[in-house]
């Protein structure tokens, strides 16, 4: 596999487009939890009911298209190698939960990888829709239409009082989790983010790392999402999240400006050191790489570094994850081998820009 082709696969097609405020917001996502009314949930069901859900989805939605989300394809987890499953997680197409030995687990992915419908995760269906940059409203509108389209064929578990019924009480009601992935290097560098997190939590929103629940914020990437799903409309939830994200964007821009004004040389030094590390290191851990990539991206956003595409952060963050590295190497690697491979891959990727 050629490196360039591999890169094409590391980054989902929709990520190539810049969205609004994409210097800070990398992506917006809407996730809807839905269940079939007639079948027990995957939390207790074994065998037949889950098989029925899977074959229903396969029969009705494989090779279908909904608007620009064309060529829906069903991928069964049982048909994949462990490394391939990891790659899907690293690309955020499925949750870590889905690949943990779940029965009849699958995902339906559109060609542009914007849509991913997980089947038999904790709920029968988890509909996910991604947009580049800060586009929560659009994501909600399209996700809701996609949901309507699915409902034409599926009898959803719904109750007038409780709303969409889900396996976990934390999802009931709208079943919706709206989230944005943000790059906040200046707020992290000035430690302001630590003070802001508790305030954000009080508003019913959650801040966490990019691989969801319990994950660390690597590379200064933060995922902000709603906690409450019951008692508020989808539009209100999105609006609340929207206004907090808007403020975070402003604060991050201000913090970047302050850094530029107060210590421009130190900032430039930091960016070029990280650039140097990425260009020349022979062994690099994923944590160090993530830190350097964050600096590199900041350098691009602040115009210190030119001729490097912004998407390099998204791209290399995914590319340097253990699953992807091993997929690229074509074999399983122990952690030390991975650190070497990671350094090689980053060097090659950055040199690729030089050649263009």
């Amino acid at each position: 596999m050629s490196l360039e082709k591999f890169m094409n696969e590391a980054i989902s097609p929709w990520m190539r487009h810049d969205g609004p405020d994409s210097d800070i917001v990398l992506s917006s996502r809407i996730r809807l939890a839905r269940n079939f009314s007639s079948q027990p949930f995957p939390t207790v069901a074994r065998g037949e009911p889950l098989e029925e859900v899977l074959s229903f989805m396969d029969e009705h939605f494989t090779e279908c298209s909904f608007r620009e989300y064309e060529g829906l394809q069903l991928v069964k987890m049982d048909d994949l190698q462990p490394i391939e499953k990891r790659v899907l997680v690293e690309k955020h197409l499925v949750s870590p939960h889905l690949i943990e030995d779940r029965e009849n687990a699958a995902t339906i992915i559109s060609e542009n990888e914007q849509v991913s419908i997980m089947v038999n995760e904790e709920d029968h269906l988890r509909i996910q829709l991604y947009f580049p940059g800060f586009q929560l409203d659009k994501a909600l509108e399209q996700a809701s239409q996609l949901d309507d389209w699915l409902e034409e064929k599926i009898d959803y578990a719904f109750d007038e009082e409780r709303g969409y019924l889900t396996a976990c009480p934390t999802n009931v009601g709208t079943g919706m989790r709206a989230s944005v992935m943000m790059h906040l290097p200046a707020l992290a560098l000035t430690k302001q983010i630590n003070r802001m997190t508790p305030a954000i939590n009080q508003l019913g929103l959650v801040v966490r790392g990019i691989y969801g629940e319990g994950s660390e914020a690597v590379g200064n990437l933060f995922q902000i999402s709603n906690q409450i799903t019951l008692g508020k409309s989808e539009e209100d939830i999105v609006e609340d999240l929207h206004s907090v994200v808007q403020q975070l964007i402003e604060q991050e821009r201000k913090a970047r400006q302050t850094l530029m004004n107060r210590s421009p040389v130190q900032l430039e030094d930091r960016i070029y050191r990280s650039y140097g590390t990425l260009r020349h290191s022979r062994v690099i851990t994923s944590k160090e790489a993530a830190g350097c990539l964050s600096d590199l991206r900041l350098g691009i956003d602040l115009d210190f570094l030119k001729d490097i595409p912004r998407t390099i952060l998204n791209e290399l963050m995914v590319l340097t994850q253990p699953g992807f590295l091993q997929q690229y190497a074509g074999e399983s690697l122990d952690p030390e081998e991975r650190d070497i491979k990671r350094a090689t891959l980053i060097r090659e990727r950055i040199n690729l820009e030089d050649d263009n």
Partner: protein, 183 residues
């Protein structure tokens, strides 16, 4: 440095205690530290599920201490879901429902749980699915029209109000037709 307790393995846990100004240093290996209770393994495994099921157990007791006590004091629960066979006890332990019917089965006990998880909310105010929602969309629509009608009457805009009144009639007919079709 070796573990000062077993003197066999290298010390990996280093603890400095200052009590009444007196400094005391402890150097232990992993397993000795665990035995001595310096590293609480239980705490490491504490997950969101534990937290949730803990919340359910708190029912009526109001004491946060119960969160960690498990279900020893729990009374025998006979409530069982007819849809999937899940018992109330199993539900509180796992913190997850087994099927749509569970919501009806455990309905009476859900409000306090949902209130805790969703900042005091217990009822849905969002999207209603077109098919599964039945005539709910229609009923909500009628409700909205009625509010509008009141407003218009208060504002003495009777011509507009008459139009809205007719719209309500049409909607209500539609609703009755739906019901007739069901029976």
């Amino acid at each position: 440095m070796q573990c000062q307790r077993c003197e066999k393995y290298p010390a990996t846990v280093h603890l400095t205690q200052v009590i009444n100004g007196e400094k005391n240093e402890v150097h232990l290996c992993d397993s000795c530290a665990k035995e001595q209770g310096y590293m609480n393994q239980e705490e490491e495994k504490f997950s969101l599920n534990d937290l949730l099921s803990g919340l359910f157990h708190m029912e009526g007791s109001g004491s946060a201490g119960k969160l960690f006590q498990g279900n020893k004091q729990q009374q025998k629960e006979s409530l069982q879901c007819s849809g999937c066979g899940l018992t109330y006890q199993e539900f509180t332990k796992a913190g997850k429902f087994g099927c749509a019917t569970c919501y009806e089965t455990f309905n009476e006990r859900l409000d306090p749980i949902l209130k805790r998880v969703h900042s005091g909310n217990t009822t849905h105010h969002g999207k209603v699915p077109k098919r599964a929602g039945g005539d709910l969309n229609l009923r909500k629509d009628i409700e909205k029209h009625r509010e509008k009608l009141h407003q218009l009457i208060n504002q003495e805009e009777f011509e507009e109000a008459a139009k809205v009144r007719d719209e309500i009639r049409t909607l209500e007919e539609e609703l009755n037709q739906d019901k007739g079709g069901d029976s």
